[in-house]
Symmetry: D2
Subunit: 368 residues, 4 copies
């Protein structure tokens, strides 16, 4: 049984193996009339592709998206939007050698245990390449969000043990995050992060980090008790990204160290509206948005592909062996995970905007 | 739109407001033939009820469960199992006074923003009382799990700023966790936790903590790429519990501080089977179980109900006011959240056992 | 695996066995603020209960509904509405004798084949008693529909071989259908139907019929291509009722005998709006409502319970036997199936009104 | 909101507009290890393509399917199977002229009412071209079915007013149905049907018919009470095909004319197994398969595209006009609807085989 569809109204179905013919996505449930072009999608895909800098993998994926359906004369039709990216520049030979030797930290072993028959080339379906579909769908979601003023911001707050360690303003993220390879909003810290990442790479090793995603101008009232709480769905969405080992909302794992009087955000009036004075809740109370920014952070494990020798088992020969992976890998995945995490946040929000009647489910025009 | 159903095959639907006539749950998708009695359910409900000790709320909820359908002659029928717990010993008067004054840290405000018309008595649907249904459903799930040897263990690893700070053995949890009010597996640490909790309560304040849930003897191969990854669904399930602000699997938020060579669990052979030498992955790789224990931790915020005065807004009079809550509240929710978190873990696993064909969907007997 | 939930936004989950403690239903996804009382539900339940006349079964089910959640101060909360009807006046003894002898035309055999362990008393879950939950949920749906002027009408157009054989006006249904035991809108035809039904009963036999359900004042634009077409969902909903062997929309099985020029309803203008001159499409084109009345008919098989001896197999003794059922049965199920079919039609429409944004998903007031 | 996904475990998502770049389908939930090639798909697509004879439309769609994912070395991977068929030989010019003039009997008007912005070229998403995706998915389902011996047969039992009027043996369908343009299992009747179809076409008109689909060797126990009954899902699936106005199972609309003693199929023993002596139930009791053949029939309306002048409304000019469609259309859609209806039947069965544990959800090999 597979579960390659996400969402209730805004429904995203990704498909494709890393070294297959193509990867792609169907986005169903987008209202008719939304302006949309391949350029909107391409912009986000370009942010996730490898080969952007010295701290991301060197492969030159060209990743040209093509919209195959659901858009006519520059606007959506309300029908499924099918998008495809052909796989090019693929070299599957390195994987032939290790096809019976599951890489530690990867899904090779568990796919084999579950399915028996697997595509061992380049991680197959478990590859980060699957996120091409997520990012393309996220671009559609962002387009929908931007129509009512919602903005998604992502940045790295910790990498290779180096923490930002201070409150970052939205403006800093907008200004700085896309200007350095690690996507950190503090340029000085960014340099330190990169130094440490490169240092580990020289040792044949990799590093992890923490990425923060913010959603601004989110209307209050999004989220559905008791299992469709928006923080629950955000947590599920972000945890479904490879390499993510933890998710926190607002104060997150700091909350246990606070007292109730410190954690509870006091309510006050501002221009006749009820707002929270602080935002330790991270924009969500009882699973429903308060109107404050949604703030989520994810723990990103170090890239499992490393050059150092590792111990594994040969599935065919049934013996323990040492594995030495060849090639150059992303020494830190944080900057490339940011567009994916933004996409998942955008998809959850788009779905809830539709589920809560904030955007009309049939026609974009009618909702205006 | 409501989302009160969880699961794909093992499907749980909870219903009921805190001060309504009753709360309850429907569990659909349980195979026929599973031995089940009210005693199985009652045992778990007794673990979550308040009034068990000085650090949980004093209300004497009697919480007697009644199975209304789906069980015949001591065994399940494959039809929906309807369970009900009547609400007794309810005093809604304190809530009348504050019905227009949303309590900070609670869902009062967001429900009002979303629905307009709300049941303000005792938190209504957003009350922790809703978890009665979850725990009852979890008891059914546990019954299913135990038939193939899966065991769920829960314990408090941090409370009121006091951390256990060492690796706890499964045996310690089995032996100690249910024997102290905070459900900590280390009796010495438990005392310190309780001291701090009571200290905060004397100040009219509350505290939070971190709870760990382990699932042992989980078969490999559970979890469905790419959106039904088992860690993604566990994260969503746990985050859907009130007061939870973070979820981590395995190394969790420690993973970003490790290098790839430290994070990757090496594979080795043990009795002809492939196992992980360590378990930093927390039993999951690529969203599929490895066969190692699943280990999840949740960040529990301090109980939002406190005696200290708090600032809020009167929704009717449209002015800022000070709120002073009366009554005695759970000064720390960790021990009572444990059976709920265990229940959600059990529900996710039961669902995946059915989804992956490890348990036969129609008949319990056939699966044996 | 069970499938006891119907609908995407307006979601209905029924539970309960015929001779268990109770039957009931959860309705999730009803917007907050809808006026609703037990009286609204009871009225519809009274229409489906047996013992109303000589052509329905004699059991005196009292069927008092109780709303357990989701309603506060006479209005819905947006939370799940749980409703229960206790089973009283039950005599399971007749079923003990035939517990290993599946009744022809009933689900006894197939439940046994599927589940192994079954509740053989009174048909268990396969009993028509399950429809209590459907009718209760349908009453909620009808309340929602009536708020925007939609009316559901049901009547018998054929019974025991006697056909109405002419076009019936809506006004005739409103005036006559509830005034005779067979719920036929033509009082003269009704008498003939009843004569034939009683004639068959005297022979220890039963009869079937055709029931028509109309939905008036349905807004155009309901229905979701390509698998959520409204006629597809109506067909599925109606076919899920026990004893239904066929469903048709508009011209239905007469359509194959028409030519395209006869079948196609011409479009014309009426008060500035586009309407169909005729309604052979039955209110649906391409799975989306046109604004014309939705007209559906169902083929109802003769009641499977008959007094005549029937051939069956003893499951335990593995031999062919003759079965003679005792008791008095509904000699014709059409009049009692009408409220159930109306309920299913209402549920499908309520779901689509919410799915298409015609009614606001969170708040009934907001949609006005 | 769109609903372009069908099924619970075997999940089919179709996409694509008639005159867009391509049409296609994602099939999720197919177990790993099933042998599958493009040839398996192409065979079924060739059966549905137009231009096969004088009674189907003349367009020469080439319809070459390409499998883009989910298959590796000739076997399925358990991951989503993405299939694409590029649209070629498209001439959208005739549709420009009528873009504001909805064709009677078509979905032009309802799509416009629902979505506002539509692709008017060739019916867009409402075109029969969408069924390419269904047939491709059905071919995968058939492959799965055939692995446990299930066979799907389709044939025309009535066309243009000519009925077969006798019981047709399975062998006749296998031998004759694919050998004449109307796919009738009786060659003599087939000729009469074709004569009448051509006669109507000469008048610029079209005709309808009735198609029967049989599923043989279906294991007992498929179907999920109470809303996932297999006959309910078959009815919904078949009614979701364009031009279908009615669905019946077994005796269908003849059942109302039978008495209980005639309708009930007696049970008897055959080789130690319980079978039905007759099959008026059409293979389903209480929504669960009996093991007898499933027999479903659909009422197919006359093709809505006709050459005769028709009355419609110009949406822009807001006036009534006469519409004269140019081109050559399928004068009878029955033969081309057969592979589509077979596909939907196969998809429902494949889904239920997985839902009921008859086929293992992860691995095809494990199920053997």
């Amino acid at each position: 049984m597979g579960s390659n569809t996400f969402g209730k109204i805004f429904r995203v179905t990704t498909w494709g193996e890393s070294h297959g013919k193509a990867v792609g996505v169907i986005v169903d449930g987008v209202p008719a009339g939304l302006p949309l072009s391949e350029k909107d999608i391409q912009r986000e895909l370009d942010r996730r592709r490898p080969g952007q800098s010295e701290i991301t993998g060197p492969r030159k994926e060209r990743d040209r998206v093509e919209i195959l359906s659901g858009v006519f004369k520059g606007r959506t039709l309300g029908t499924p939007i099918s998008m495809i990216v052909h796989n090019v520049d693929i070299d599957s030979r390195p994987y032939e050698a290790i096809r019976n030797r599951p890489r530690p930290g990867h899904a090779d072993l568990t796919y084999w245990l579950k399915y028996g028959h697997v595509d061992y080339r380049g991680g197959g379906r478990a590859s980060a390449r699957e996120t091409v579909g997520r990012v393309a769908a996220g671009a559609v979601a962002k387009k929908l969000l931007s129509s009512i003023g919602i903005e998604i911001l992502g940045h790295t707050v910790e990498a290779a043990g180096v923490k930002v360690g201070r409150e970052i303003k939205n403006e800093e993220i907008r200004k700085n995050a896309e200007r350095n390879p690690i996507r950190c909003a503090d340029p000085e810290i960014a340099k330190k992060m990169i130094d440490r990442i490169l240092e580990a790479r020289r040792e044949g090793d990799s590093t992890g980090g923490v990425v923060e995603i913010r959603a601004l101008n989110v209307p209050p009232g999004l989220g559905e008790p008791v299992f469709g709480k928006i923080d629950a769905e955000i947590a599920g969405a972000l945890m479904s990204i490879g390499s993510v080992k933890g998710v926190e909302i607002g104060a997150g794992f700091e909350a246990p160290r606070l007292k109730g009087s410190e954690m509870n955000d006091p309510f006050k009036l501002k221009d006749g509206k009820i707002v929270c004075e602080t935002n330790r809740a991270g924009g969500v109370l009882g699973g429903i948005t308060t109107g404050m920014p949604i703030v989520a952070r994810i723990a990103v494990k170090p890239t499992p592909s490393i050059s150092k020798p590792q111990r594994t088992v040969d599935l065919k020969e049934k013996k323990e062996v040492t594995l030495k992976l060849k090639g150059r890998f992303d020494p830190n995945i944080c900057p490339r995970i940011i567009p994916v995490a933004e996409a998942m946040m955008a998809i959850v929000l788009a779905d809830h905007l539709l589920r809560s009647g904030k955007i009309h489910p049939n026609s974009f025009e009618e909702g205006k």
